[in-house]
Amino acid sequence: MSFFRKKKRTVKKPQLLTPSKLVSQKENTPTSSSLTETEKQIKDILGNNEDLKIKHFKIFGQFSAACVYFSSLVDKDSLNKDILKSLMYEPDHLMGKEKPLTQLIDMILTETIYHSEAKVGDSIDQLIQLMLRGETVIFIDGIKEAIHIGTRKVEKRAIDQPQTEQVILGPREGFIESIATNIALLRYRLPTPDFQVKTMKIGRLTKSTVAICYLKGIANETVIKEVEKRLSEIDIDAILDVGYLEQFIEDNPFSPFPQTQSTERPDKTVANLIEGRVAILVDGSPFSLLVPVVFNQFYQTTEDYSSRFLMGSFVRLARILALVFSLIFPSLYVSLISFNPELLPTEFAVAVAGGRAGVPYPAVIEVLIIEVSMEILREATVRLPKQVGGALSIVGVLVIGQAAVEAGLSSPITVVVIALTTIGSFATPTYTAAFALRMLRFPIMILAGIFGLYGVMVGVIFIFNHMLSLKSFGVPYMAPVSPSDYEGMKDVVVRSPLWWMPKRPDFLHPSNQSRLSENENKMLEHSKLGNDQREGTTDGGSEGNNSTSSHNDLN
């Protein structure tokens, strides 16, 4: 943050003519027809930079010209082969033809240059902006206009497995920083004209490209408009990650609960687009932001849908249990131990009391101490280099846990409870949602220490009421549970088989609801028949003509 503050201060200093101000002064000033003068103008503004290159050459051996670019941003290979070579070496079909200066630009664009992204520009500020984005600009002596060519090449990492959302079954691709690649990953999965990508630039300094992706005809129009409106109202110097946008567009910034979902997975993004959500991508961020969200999607993963429905539902049930654990398990423990030990079966109560015999603190203090140290451990493990991380978690969890019990700082059951809670919070697939519950655990624990089970109940009611009052882009946060929606309920606790969910969830108000086509679905027919009956039918899966299905698409 200090970085930004410093920036602000320099901006506040009066009358310092920064290059950007020089550029904005030159707004809409046309480029001069004289090459030397243009060169001087550019050097005035950008001359300090080592990587600004100006190369003089002669087009077709007769017109003197200069190409200006940032050597750090452009693809030199393409610059040399496709641009300079084609311009300096007069092609056969132009040999001997008359080349008047007025038609030169047209001739270069249409007949000479081997590059798809060559355009004409004529104001100096615009050309400088383009240069800063990696384009090469060619000025020709005697011509006012200049040619700018998209030669941007920035180093990017390879497409990798998403680190935060790993799955066992399902695609392995994750988003990377470059927005062009990310959009390509989405388009690759959605080859339909309905898939729309609207872009805008946000950030006075970073001018980050922000893309709003949605499926026209499925996503709700009002949501799309609302997203555009909220994004266009942002006026900030820098957007470095999608998280910056999130903080500007969410409905309730003071809520601990995330009101947008960010994901690293293109397949998840596409699945959400198809349900009628809108995805927001930012150049430089490997995350997409999905709106509107409801709470139940934070414990769902794409894996639930790609595995068979019994499996998916079972795993989801386990995850919900883990979610509940991570929120109230320590507070339940505290209230049972310090207020209502009579609830526990006698043998267990005796064991608990025995374990706590040497511990001087009340249960709530003990749990709080262990819980806080657990949080510190967790944060430390994230920051540590990979090589040390494993060692630390062993030392931290095993050694300290054991020693704490032996030293009488905590009882063994407390350690078990906290360990279960921590593991439970890791089972929630979405980091932000898990974080919300992790934070809310502390106030509930304190309430449990004061009021016992009654306190836990009050805390839980309070959290639920808050969640019920939240809205994400007009969609109630707890939909489809409350307000209940029949189609949506099929995909909350259990993940119903795909052929049981013929409609898109209604709570997102999609423009087009049908997921399965109306006509008879082969899949359904199969599943209605018993196994022994299927052998006789002719339209079974073993016919063989399935294998011919469009090999062309497999590239």
């Binding site: 609830l343 089970l453 009654y454 109940m457 009611i461 019920l468 409350s482």
Partner: protein, 370 residues
């Protein structure tokens, strides 16, 4: 009323159920047995029936005026000033009802769970919870009820189901013990007073998507909550017998205490039952509190009810602290409850009658010139 009208019939039903089921669950069998001994279920049934009639009248009135609550349409029917006076009485009644709910809750918590915590603290925590939640709009109000209803119904049903193995049908006979009809009538009134929360329907109808479905919602609402109450009375009477119930203050809590779930996961169920019962009390308190501030808003034609939520908090708190002890509190509750029937049943009936007369006269007037 800037909120979109989104409340569905299902949501209206759940609002009614969770509003009606509240603190009353605990002492209900006692009330019924005091009035009718073994015919306690019969007393409960008549009480439910009476409450149902009141609710039907109210719903019918609401459907006749689908854009208004009782606060506003009463002014149309019986005139501006008379309507306002009656509305103030209604508001004041619900203010008292909220405070008594909170007080009764506090009393149970202090006696059964948190013996060392001061009564004031438990009451103020509950009131604060309601006050903060009341700052939402009416749709969120509906969502909240909608979510909690299954959680309220389930534990009661579980306790009843697991306890029935100890039931003795002999305790339920004779079904109609007609020795003290006057006393039974009183019990009937007390039982139907437990349903006074259903008055909330008048606030729900104007916010419903299709107000016509309100009748269906109230029928289902009273059917489910009444059925549950009846079930509780039958179960407790069948297990403890009328004589023993008279000795117990909160028979339903005792019922939970004697119940054990197979597998010995938890030694006792009553604490868990009480914990979930906090939910039931919260929804009831939430409804009456919300109704109070919403009605004040309508009466004075204010734009927003949010500020009122904290404003009436001290009043409710002081009213809640007024009864001296538990016995005094239950005397007041019975008294207020029966008096409240005048407001929740007689007053709407009176409004409906006048409304009928007016529309009949209007029709005659229209018919005359033509």
């Amino acid at each position: 009323m800037g909120d979109p009208k989104e409340i569905t019939a299902l949501q209206a039903t759940t609002i009614l159920i969770s509003t009606i089921i509240g603190v009353g669950v605990l002492p209900l069998p006692l009330f019924a047995v005091r009035a009718g001994e073994t015919s306690a279920p019969f007393v409960t049934l008549t009480g439910v029936f009476l409450a149902a009639i009141g609710l039907m009248i109210l719903t019918y009135l609401g459907i006749r005026h689908p854009h208004k609550t009782i606060i506003t349409y009463s002014q149309d029917i019986i005139g501006k000033w008379l309507g306002k006076i009656f509305s103030i009485v209604v508001i004041f009644f619900f203010l008292i009802l909220s405070s008594l709910t909170a007080r009764e809750f506090g009393a149970v918590v202090v006696t059964a769970v948190l013996r060392e915590t001061p009564l004031e603290v438990t009451v103020i925590v509950m009131l604060l919870l309601a006050a903060i939640s009341c700052r939402n709009n009416i749709n969120v109000f509906a969502y909240i009820h909608n979510l909690y209803v299954p959680m309220i119904l389930a534990p009661v049903l579980i306790v009843v189901a697991f306890s029935l193995k100890n039931a003795n049908l002999l305790y339920l006979r004779p079904i109609f013990l007609g020795n003290d009809l006057w006393n039974m009538a009183g019990g009937m009134l007390t039982v139907s007073a437990l349903f006074q929360g259903s008055f909330i329907i008048t606030m729900i109808i104007p916010a419903m998507k299709t107000p016509k479905k309100a009748m269906k919602a109230s029928l289902w609402g009273i059917l489910i909550s009444g059925g549950l109450y009846l079930l509780i009375v039958i179960a407790t009477v069948a297990i403890f017998g009328p004589e023993e119930i008279k000795q117990i203050f909160w028979p339903t809590l005792e019922l939970a205490r004697t119940t054990a779930i197979p597998g010995n996961i938890l030694q006792r169920l009553d604490i868990i039952f009480l914990a979930v019962w906090v939910l039931a009390v919260f929804t009831t308190l939430f409804s009456s509190y919300y109704f109070t501030i919403h009605s004040i808003k309508e009466l004075f034609r204010l734009k927003d009810h949010k500020v009122l939520s904290y404003f009436i908090l001290p009043f409710v708190f002081f009213l809640a602290m007024a009864p001296q002890n538990v016995l005094h509190m239950y005397e007041i509750i019975q008294l207020i409850g029966r008096a409240g029937l005048l407001i929740t049943i007689i007053y709407p009936a009176f409004l409906l009658l006048i409304d009928f007369l007016r529309s009949w006269r209007r029709k005659k007037n229209v018919a005359k010139p033509s």
